[in-house]
Symmetry: none
Subunit: 420 residues, 2 copies
């Protein structure tokens, strides 16, 4: 079996000056990974002909597949097509009739005249094959190089850079790669955990990790909102890889305990949503320091209106008392950031909305703090059929980061309450 | 004067497999651009020692400055530090006491034990200078190379890869670059607009733009949450650049009108916060389709508790009626997404909280829609001392993008109401 490697090259000044974030590279490498092609390198370059030729040649030397995006616009600063003609030794351009028809269609649909500059988009070096771009004017150009050129057979796919167009054409490019290259099998499994830092997780599962077979690779992917994601990959996978990985996963499960929340690429709020939906139960939220972030996360899940009734963000103590019914004496005695206030907030919003469960936060996201609790502290409350529980979390980030961690910890706390 | 070039190298399997999008590179290249350093190349690499050394050496050959991020975690797959030791010819590690103290602080704040694996983070090759990382355990390592090594004096800054840590340390790295390299003068001014698409804005200010002096460069930087940012840059700036740019800005102001909301790098919610604070006024919010995003944006502004009283996210019609007092007949007659419901929500939350102003949203963020309004529609309501006003906005994005645009449009609508 072959080990096929790819490089990605995104071309355009707007990436290099930091005006836009390159999202094409990750989209492409994910798609390549799915078919067992390993991305060895990603490069972003300016619209500079000499540099484009130099870097692409180098990538073709080291990889069987190179995918470039961008630099194919109609304006003068886009010089990728000329660079590719030179790299592939082409001296003439030919018209691609099918792409020219698409150019006409797109401009007509936008109510624009078809100018010469637009028609030039359908002209390609005679050294390439074309994959049509149905969402834009520049076609995908495929250049194939014999082994004599770079030491091994290689192909260069030049794609448009607008993510909307790149995304639409990517399926055709992937299919073309599958037709032309003999690919290794690959199998990935993603395991989502929350509640343990990367180092603690690593210590916890060290005996299991050390015993992994040599063809199984483990990656730790930490994220403040989703916890530490573990990814198990088998390169050169055969039909048995899925079973083998699942056996490894079964051995890992007891080590992870409740810290494990999904064995797929998932978010805490999506998992919580599925738990609620499965039981036909509902949720309401009372936020203070998280200021709407929990409600925002929960409602990013499509269909969340089936179980999420609503939330109250009570930034002022008056709203906590008036809307949520928190006792003034509790605030005075225990402090606004306290287990007792978190409990009364959760109970208050559950009473107000009639939801099955409710979740509350009260904390100091940044430099305030008081005599009861320092900055970076949040008290989380959960109320539900089994009563009310609270827990304190402490983090040491800036305001934005603390709000994110508070929200994720709160959602995870509710998840643990529900599954207990 | 010198033209200084930089390359950026992000290291980590998680980028190459497409699991995360590399946002560090654009953040770093923007910061470099601010001080007149041009980014010539961005590369993303896997955790592979040989490749890391090869690519970084190549970048150091072609650039005076190389900034790497990532690969510095405590787990076994992070091998960048060893690669850098080899590249710089170091054979021993030394402990950085200040960073070790930070490691202790961070772990204690999180209530975690300090393990050997954590303390190793504070060990660095003896060939580097250290810039402290106050937000994470891995310090920034600065390796300086004499001209004899790469043909010119060069410096390599190895930063942590977690964006939260990279961002916090970037200021210190930029200052270090300013100290050690002779840089061209540069002056930037940022002008924030909301309410006009890039093309409409470009048409509106064309006469002004066409008359710009040749050394003044204008960039359009559109963003769904902040509108179109205009950036005026003078490269090779002398002491007079600021005055010249300010004169150009004064001539631009009348063209932009109320679409202009700040002449600094700013957000709509920060500007809104300053307006409220200046007058000692307060705000409450009633959200439906935006699901907490507006409250979240408003509370990302430090000190927002001075003017933000709270919000109600009424995802279910029952909460709209019960908590906000929206009339059941209005919902039935006009539809849940209507000017009338937006108005009653705004008035209801203002009554509930006693705030000076209130803001409301009701809309269809994704594919639902009803017989009254299609998907992508939001009705925004504002209530305040001058009465209640509503406005409809329509966008054509996916759920996430629509929620972002709805929230930004709503905040901008309130801003215009207040300054009118």
């Amino acid at each position: 079996m072959n080990k096929v490697n790819a490089s990605i090259c995104t071309i355009g000044d707007e990436i290099l000056i930091g005006q836009i974030v390159d999202t094409n590279s990750s989209m492409i490498s994910r798609a390549l990974g799915e078919i067992g092609v390993r991305t060895s390198q990603m490069v972003s370059l300016a619209d500079n002909r000499k540099e484009i030729i130099e870097i692409l040649s180098n990538q073709l030397k080291n990889n069987e597949i190179v995918i470039s995006t961008g630099g194919l616009g109609p304006t003068k600063d886009d010089i990728t097509k000329d660079a590719l003609a030179e790299l592939s030794g082409s001296h003439s351009y030919i018209k691609n009739e099918a792409q020219e028809a698409i150019v006409h269609d797109i401009l007509h649909a936008r109510g624009l005249d078809v100018l010469d500059i637009n028609l030039r988009q359908a002209m390609v070096p005679d050294s390439c094959e074309v994959i049509l771009n149905h969402r834009g004017t520049a076609p995908i150009m495929v250049f194939r190089f014999p082994a004599s050129k770079f030491g091994h057979p290689a192909a260069l796919y030049a794609m448009p850079g607008v993510p909307f167009e790149t995304e639409a054409a990517l399926g055709d490019v992937i299919n073309n790669i599958k037709e032309h290259f003999k690919l290794d099998g690959i199998y990935h499994k993603t395991i989502m955990t929350y509640g343990l830092a990367e180092s603690a997780l690593s210590e916890l599962i060290a005996p299991w990790e050390d015993a992994l077979p040599s063809d199984v690779h483990l990656a730790y992917l930490p994220n403040p909102l989703t916890g530490v994601r573990l990814r198990l990959s088998v390169y050169g996978a055969d039909g048995n890889a899925e079973n083998r990985v699942n056996e490894l996963f079964e051995a890992l499960k007891p080590l992870l305990g409740d810290n494990l929340y999904s064995d797929a690429d998932d978010t805490l709020e999506a998992v919580l949503g599925r738990l609620l939906r499965a039981k036909g139960e509902s949720l309401s939220v009372a936020e203070s320091c998280t200021g709407g972030e929990i409600a925002h996360l929960i409602t990013t899940v499509p269909g969340s209106s089936d179980y999420f009734l609503g939330s109250v963000t009570s930034y002022s103590p008056e709203i906590k008392k008036k809307v949520l019914g928190v006792d003034a004496g509790t605030i005075e005695e225990k402090g606004i950031v306290s287990s007792e206030v978190a409990a009364e907030m959760a109970e208050g919003v559950r009473r107000l909305t009639g939801s099955t469960y409710s979740l509350s936060t009260t904390g100091w996201a940044d430099s305030y703090g008081d005599e009861h609790e320092p900055a970076g502290t949040v008290w989380v409350g959960v109320s539900g059929p089994r009563g009310t529980e609270t827990r304190r979390f402490r983090y040491k980030g800036d305001r934005k980061r603390n709000i994110e961690r508070f929200a994720a910890s709160a959602i995870d706390f509710l998840r643990r309450y529900i599954i207990k």
